[in-house]
């Protein structure tokens, strides 16, 4: 199949069916939320969801990881709480007259495989307290900019990563 984008990846693999349906359902729900539940909006919604799903499958083929809903819910809850902590932390430092900052770079070794799951983790990391990932470091390291290098950053990140890994169903070699 050669689409207008000049892509050659076939979409007839049976293993692709489940992630394809999952994405189509997710995008369909997003359409419902954006456009409302009016019956006349359902047909274009289906077209839009299918188009977006097709593009999504072309650009991001389903990987080996599979999302586990129960762990994901737990992770999301904790993540939201952590991002509140992050906002409060920044506000406290910004408004403190003494400006208590110890900015610096820290290298963090990740057990996540390079690629989408690692990028997803670093994306979420920039919403966690005190950390903004700034790029890859030698080996499997990630360079992290911290507002306060005196905090136990790597231990905290390791805890977050363990939760994230279990949410996306990724088994780490070193436990």
């Amino acid at each position: 199949m050669k689409g207008p984008f000049g892509l050659l990846r076939g979409t007839s693999d049976p293993g692709l069916l489940r992630p394809a349906i999952a994405r189509a359902v997710g995008l369909g729900v997003l359409w419902l939320v954006l456009a409302g539940g009016n019956p006349v909006d359902l047909a274009p919604g289906a077209v839009a969801a299918l188009a977006a799903t097709w593009v999504s499958l072309q650009f991001l083929p389903p990987g080996a990881v599979s999302v586990r809903p129960a762990s994901l819910a737990g992770f999301t809850f904790r993540f939201l709480r952590q991002s509140v902590v992050a906002g409060v932390d920044v506000a406290r430092r910004a408004l403190d007259p003494r400006l208590p900052l110890h900015p610096g770079l820290v290298v963090y070794q990740t057990g996540l495989p390079p690629g989408p799951s690692q990028h997803m983790f670093t994306t979420l990391m920039s919403l966690l307290p005190g950390t903004v990932p700034t790029g890859p470091a030698p080996g499997s390291g990630l360079l992290i900019h911290c507002l306060d290098v005196e905090q136990p950053i790597t231990a905290q990140l390791a805890a977050e990563e363990a939760l994230f890994s279990s949410a996306i169903g990724w088994k780490q070699d070193n436990g």
């Binding site: 509140v84 906002g87 506000a91 910004a94 919403l127 900019h145």
Partner: protein, 97 residues
């Protein structure tokens, strides 16, 4: 009931506005570009989230409320993803700490 919902809205929106204030103060006070990235992403995103929560008490209908949440999630995830790109330039261009 109306009064209670309004009170919740006022509380959450005011808290959201406070975090926008904190974010801007951080933006003005923090010494280097990468630290300012922290101030912007974390404080402002929480501010937007709290304002959305506040507005949820005023919206009518589930879908209208979910739409506000969807806008917030989009701003949150898109912002967080782009933040790493910005941080990368700071890392490449700025002095190493």
């Amino acid at each position: 009931m109306r009064f209670a919902l309004d009170a919740l809205t006022i509380f959450a929106v005011a808290a959201g506005a406070f975090f926008f204030l904190a974010g801007t103060v951080g933006l003005l006070r923090f010494p280097d570009a990468l630290s300012r990235v922290h101030a912007l992403t974390k404080a402002d995103n929480l501010g937007l989230g709290l304002i959305v929560v506040g507005l949820l008490f005023q919206t009518e209908g589930l879908l209208a409320g979910l739409k506000l949440v969807a806008v917030w999630l989009l701003a949150l995830l898109a912002g967080a993803a782009v933040t790493q790109l910005i941080a990368r330039i700071a890392q490449a261009g700025g002095p190493r700490v």
